[in-house]
């Protein structure tokens, strides 16, 4: 039994310790905004926040999360989240959309630490998130737009 907090609510998971957080979120909690893309932490589609830091849920065993606080796309809030998601919609970043929850999580993670990222900062923070539709031009632009909104 692992007890953790997911989007602010306490959850007790009766799952084998090696169950990836990704499948616990999806199959057990029906939080389907977090996506499966590779299963080996290469694509970032499954990115969630664990204790405030972006983490690949597909390789994070639930047994390591006792007492942890998990934030998924469904529970995302705050100024950075609002700025990022508004910017995403404003310039129509998504194409197929499958990777975008993970992209948004990584972008929010970046802006929470760095409100005025350079292109290089964006590359470093976002290089772990693959977008097969290659929406990268707009991802970069939307992060800059969101940063501008936050600087306001």
């Amino acid at each position: 039994m692992t007890t953790l907090t997911v989007n602010g609510e306490e959850v007790a998971l009766d799952l084998p310790d090696d169950t990836p957080l990704l499948w616990a979120l999806r199959d057990e909690m029906r939080l389907t905004g977090t996506k499966f893309g590779c299963g080996i932490a290469q694509c970032g589609a499954c990115t969630v926040m664990v204790d405030g830091m972006p983490r690949r849920s597909c390789v994070t065993p639930v047994g390591t999360l006792e007492g942890a606080s998990v934030e998924t796309i469904e529970g995302l809030d705050g100024a950075e989240a609002e700025a990022v998601q508004s910017a995403w919609v404003q310039i129509d970043v998504p194409q197929c959309g499958w990777c975008q929850s993970g992209q948004v999580m990584s972008a929010v993670g970046l802006l929470r630490m760095n409100r005025a990222p350079s292109d290089e900062d964006i590359d470093n923070a976002m290089a772990g998130n693959i977008c097969r539709c290659a929406t990268y031009v707009r991802i970069r632009q939307a992060i800059h737009d969101a940063a501008d909104t936050l600087e306001g």
Partner: protein, 718 residues
Amino acid sequence: MTVQSRRQFLASAAGLVIGVALPLKGRAQSGAAAALGDGTLAEGAFAPNAFIRIAPDNTVTVLSKHIEFGQGPYTGLATLVAEELDADWSQIRAEAAPADDELYANLAFGLQGTGGSTAMANSWMQMRQAGAAARAMLVSAAAEEWGVDRATIQVEKGVVSDGTSSATFGELAEAAAGQSVPVEPAVKNPSEFTLIGTDRPKVDSRAKSDGTAQFTMDVYRDGMETVVVRRPSVIGATVASFDDSAAREVPGVVAVHRIPQGVAVYATSTAAALKGRAALEVEWDMSEAETRSSQEIFADFREMANGEAMEAERIGDAASAIDSAEIVHEAEFLFPFLAHAPMEPLDAVLEVRGGKAEIWMGAQFPTADKGAVTQVLGLEPENVTMNVMLAGGSFGRRAQPTAHIGVEVASIAKARGGDGAWKLVWTREDDLTGAYYRPITLHRMRGGIDADGNITGWENRVVNQSIVAGTPFDQGGLDRTSVEGAIEMPYDLPNLAVDWVKADLPVAPLWWRSVGHTHTAYATEVFLDELLEKAGKDPVQGRLDLLKDEAGRDRAVLERVAEMAGWDGTKVKGDRAYGVALHESFQTYVAEIVEVSDAGGYPKVHKVWAAVDCGVAINPNVIRAQIEGGIGYGLGTILHNALVLGEGGEVQQKNFDTYRMLRIHEMPQVEVAIIDSGADPTGVGEPGTPPIGPAVANAWRALTGQSPRELPFAQAGV
């Protein structure tokens, strides 16, 4: 399988002539993709035809006969309807149409399906007429209610008025439903367009930015079991025997069955299914497998290129012209197998209850998959429902004439027996090692140049598999998808011979974003660039001089892109080099110029200028997005991607650690110009992809003198 009847449909489609048909019957049944529409027909709704529903709450829902996987048809088709309806964009919703070849046929195919960048082209008149018909009925309803002449009524931004009275579409919905349906409704003159041609926000961006968009994998049914299948790592191998004793010990695993596709593990959760699959012991029968390595296949292709071939195009006498040329240039290009690798791996959900079945799937040919389930389970067609879901990318992968996913999920249900619900999940390893690849291909080319620098002869011999063989798209003889782009080039070459050698491999081939153009654009535009260089000609002016008189649209995009990039004939400036390519595909014309530097023996692409002519630009925002994405897709591929069969045929790349995708730091800036040629609209999902590879290769050759002959660049030792 319904292949025979679909072939008849195709035959009647008269060689891909795009006509207009407007099914008039509304359908209460809905697709569940409803990221936007909610998939229900509201009480009192007005359904003038199969594509539109106007609800009393004043929403207008457009049913998209084309699947949405990022290329934008929900927004595009809704724009056409909204334009003719004079709706307000904010009241527009879009959702998937159900599976029905009669109501929702792609008019270019004769069956329901998405592909070949045809969504806008085949829907252009049909969806506008659908909107115009609905508008006429709303106007008639208002005229009747207000007792005024129809001619006094205006419609603007979703409001119907005659100067005295006014009403919303929602208020008129019930009355409009009682009006007669116009048979040939008049559509607007393009000068009257208010939505078409302007940037329009996409209908699905919000749901795809907050995690609420529903895809196949997000469907959960009561009592549903998740199923993963152990498949061979050598293509074509089959199960000889297996030991599932350890797999059955895994908590959560409820059953293991052999199915035609491999060994299926059924579990109460995905994690348990995956653990169960890992615990299986399987012996494989290799008798039908492709056990050659990619290098052995290339060696065989080289032999085959010397043998018999099918004529694809002939002008004059290319062989004699080249043999007597001043300069003879030869090249052989090798293109690897490629996987599409959509971000959402293949999946499907099937529920069987009391002789009825319901499917949820990102099906690109939904009636084919529905037919497959119907047949495998032995059900009556009217008892099977297909919900076409949003799909996390496709790039051709979900366009399955064989309906193999429908067959597989039905086989899973059949093997388990009885009623139940099953979710089939492919892992990334299944996706990359499971064939349905862009075919491995060889181009052997020869060109001749005379003493004045004119290209006098051009030979191209293509060796690859036929993608359409055995599918309803097979018309016998030459498979145009094997050579498209290598034939009917826009250049005026006096002597030309293009031939095709058909190879048969047990590796299932499939169309991959831009199909034959994936390799023909590279081979022809790199080889042409090299010939122009040997002839001492400028890559842009040399191409312009070669273009046929009738190639005006090719000329216009090339001239525009040269202007955008400030092309002055200098191929190298400091540490930056520039390369160009021009290629039409699916009747959309694209020219690209790239700026490249040498990042430690590997090209870094800084900037891409692209000029595109896709006819009427329905939504420039979506067009730019597709060109940007098509460039990124093609660039990652030529730099990094090959699915290599190793010794014994084992697929070497099993996940994204070795099948490396383009990442954000490798994405160039992209500047897109859309040329208004006034032609009817054509597609943009694929045509941005073909020119990027040859443009980068041409820039790289200018910079380093190297011209990769075997793709990707990484493979060529670049």
